[in-house]
């Protein structure tokens, strides 16, 4: 028995909290993301942070009865493209997902921890958290990363979920201090988010189908890649397409590559004729 690590010895006596993060924090704090008092350049944005891969643009938009989230596939470290096929939209449970922008490593770890956090609660309590509960939980975890963010290791998520009570999709955004900020209709994060938001503003239609909403999101990512060097456009030669996820009453579904390719081809066809893409009517 003596060989057991410390966290195991009280496993059956101290079963207090439903939070996995709290549990890890008390038994094995080293496992939590961003707890190292490391030297990330000190003070400002420069230093190490610039050399660590960054994930870029994520967009999300709701449609009647669900929500779409899509992300480009590029990770950059300064001027250097560190990964061409990165995945930065994560399924967090059956009815929710999150995308990450900012420091890639911290973001991935955060997503992994958050995923376990939701599942842990669900298994313990035999119920899933409310959508607000999930969004608030994520805010606390982002706030926990604030000291790291101050040193340049910024990570900001975008959270999307299907709300069973309302039969609709919901989107929450965050800043480095936490949040959540509920967003109506659509939202975007990351370096290309300004361009993507501009595109979505013109392309988003109330009452659109999920396919139309996916198409709008792919267009928005294309526009982001068009004007932001850190956002990757569709890679036709390598067949690397944006990552698209849809959540509706049937749960989370990541679109298979072939299906995404269909949407990307439609976008490319439009852009061949008009490189700036569809235009919104003036009046």
């Amino acid at each position: 028995m003596a060989a057991q690590p410390g966290w195991m010895s009280n496993l059956f006596l101290d079963t207090g909290s439903t939070s996995f993060t709290e549990f890890v924090g008390s038994y094995a704090p080293g496992l939590l993301p961003g707890r190292l008092e490391m030297t990330a350049g000190g003070g400002g944005g420069g230093g190490v942070a610039d050399r660590i891969p960054h994930a870029t643009t994520i967009v999300a938009a709701t449609f009647a009865g669900g929500v779409v989230m899509a992300g480009d596939r590029r990770a950059t470290a300064g001027n250097y493209i560190s990964q061409k096929d990165m995945e930065k939209v994560f399924r967090t449970d059956e009815y929710s997902c999150m995308g990450i922008a900012g420091t890639a490593s911290t973001g991935i770890e955060l997503a992994r921890l958050y995923c376990v956090e939701l599942e842990h609660y669900e298994k313990r309590e035999s119920r899933t958290l409310s959508v607000e509960g999930k969004a608030n939980r994520l805010a606390t975890m982002i706030r926990g990363n604030l000291p790291m963010a101050m040193q340049g290791m910024v990570v900001v998520p975008l959270f999307a979920a299907y709300d069973e009570d309302r039969d609709s999709g919901r989107i929450f955004s965050y800043d480095v201090g936490g949040g959540p900020y509920e967003q109506q209709r659509y939202a975007s994060i990351g370096s290309g988010s300004l361009f993507a938001r501009g595109a979505l503003k013109k392309l988003y239609r109330d009452g659109a189908t999920s396919d139309e909403t996916i198409l709008a999101c792919v267009h928005a990512l294309y526009d982001a890649a068009d004007d932001d060097s850190a956002t990757g456009g569709p890679d036709v030669t390598r067949k690397i397409w944006p990552l698209v996820a849809v959540i509706d009453a049937d749960g989370f579904r990541r679109l298979p590559d072939e299906e995404v390719e269909g949407f990307v081809r439609q976008v490319l066809d439009v852009r061949m004729a008009d490189p700036d893409g569809p235009t919104a009517p003036l009046r």
Binding site: M1, Q4, S126
Partner: protein
């Protein structure tokens, strides 16, 4: 040399503790765990829909228990923590039923020898594999002994009688409907009435599912299965987990005397 007053030999003490634990476990209703063609089926007569005897531990691992609720609930919560932290530290595929069974065995064994009162519980930890050969079922008793079971396990209540009835009906590769029927037949004493759907807690570890293999079967879906519908629709039926939590009052899972299966 005279013995001090009130001396109890270690043998006697262990025997007393074991008798005590056995009596406690035999008071409840039996729980049945058995393999079927697509995984592992758990069936427990349970009047409460809020206090579970069957639970998910991890992607491929399920848990069933009989005995005192507060004791096995603590073990269940600890097991979930063990699984989640190991899966988070390493990888989801690195969480195994064997590791969990070992941990439970150590904990139960320690409580049995060191506490005045042993845990009045018996557990099953089951892991579904990619094929039926990969399925693992571990049974743990109050003193920390572990047995590696194949096919089916019955624990709690009049386990021997239920196991004897199940043995006649069990074979490898049962469909879900057949397996459920066999389990219910075994849980019902000859000539007795089968427990109604509302009094049943049923779950599967279904190897054909994505992500998490554990699924509770409740409501209309369970009724369909019990009505003898073809097992083919099992995979397409809607998930039923959202129906949880709407359960009855938080009372004890059952009365203290077993009435359902006194053979």
């Amino acid at each position: 040399m005279s013995m001090p007053f009130g001396y109890v030999s270690p043998e006697q003490e262990m025997r007393d503790k074991a008798d005590f634990a056995r009596k406690g476990i035999a008071r409840g209703r039996s729980v049945v765990v058995l393999q079927y063609e697509n995984g592992i089926l758990f069936v427990a007569p349970n009047a409460s829909r809020a206090l579970h005897k069957i639970s998910e531990i991890y992607d491929r691992i399920g848990f069933a228990a009989v005995g005192k609720y507060n004791e096995f609930e603590a073990l269940r919560l600890g097991g979930i923590r063990y699984a989640d932290i190991n899966g988070y530290t390493y990888d989801r595929s690195d969480v195994t039923a064997r590791g969990l069974a070992n941990l439970y065995a150590q904990s139960l064994g320690m409580v049995f020898t060191e506490s005045r009162k042993p845990y009045e519980v018996e557990l099953v930890v089951a892991e579904v594999g990619d094929t039926a050969e990969g399925d693992q079922i571990y049974r743990l008793t109050f003193d920390g002994s572990v047995t590696d079971e194949h096919g089916f396990v019955v624990m709690g209540g009049v386990a021997d009688a239920v196991a004897a009835r199940l043995k006649d009906r069990f074979r490898e590769g049962l469909t879900l409907t057949e397996a459920l029927d066999a389990a219910l037949a075994a849980l019902t004493e000859p000539g007795g009435e089968r427990p109604p759907v509302s009094q049943l807690e049923v779950a599967v570890l279904d190897r054909s599912r994505d992500h998490r293999k554990f699924q509770r079967l409740t409501g209309p879906r369970l009724e369909r299965l019990l009505g003898g519908a073809p097992a083919g629709d099992a995979a397409t039926a809607e998930p039923s987990e959202q129906e949880e939590g709407a359960g009855g009052p938080a009372t004890a899972p059952e009365g203290d005397i077993d009435t359902g299966s006194g053979a």
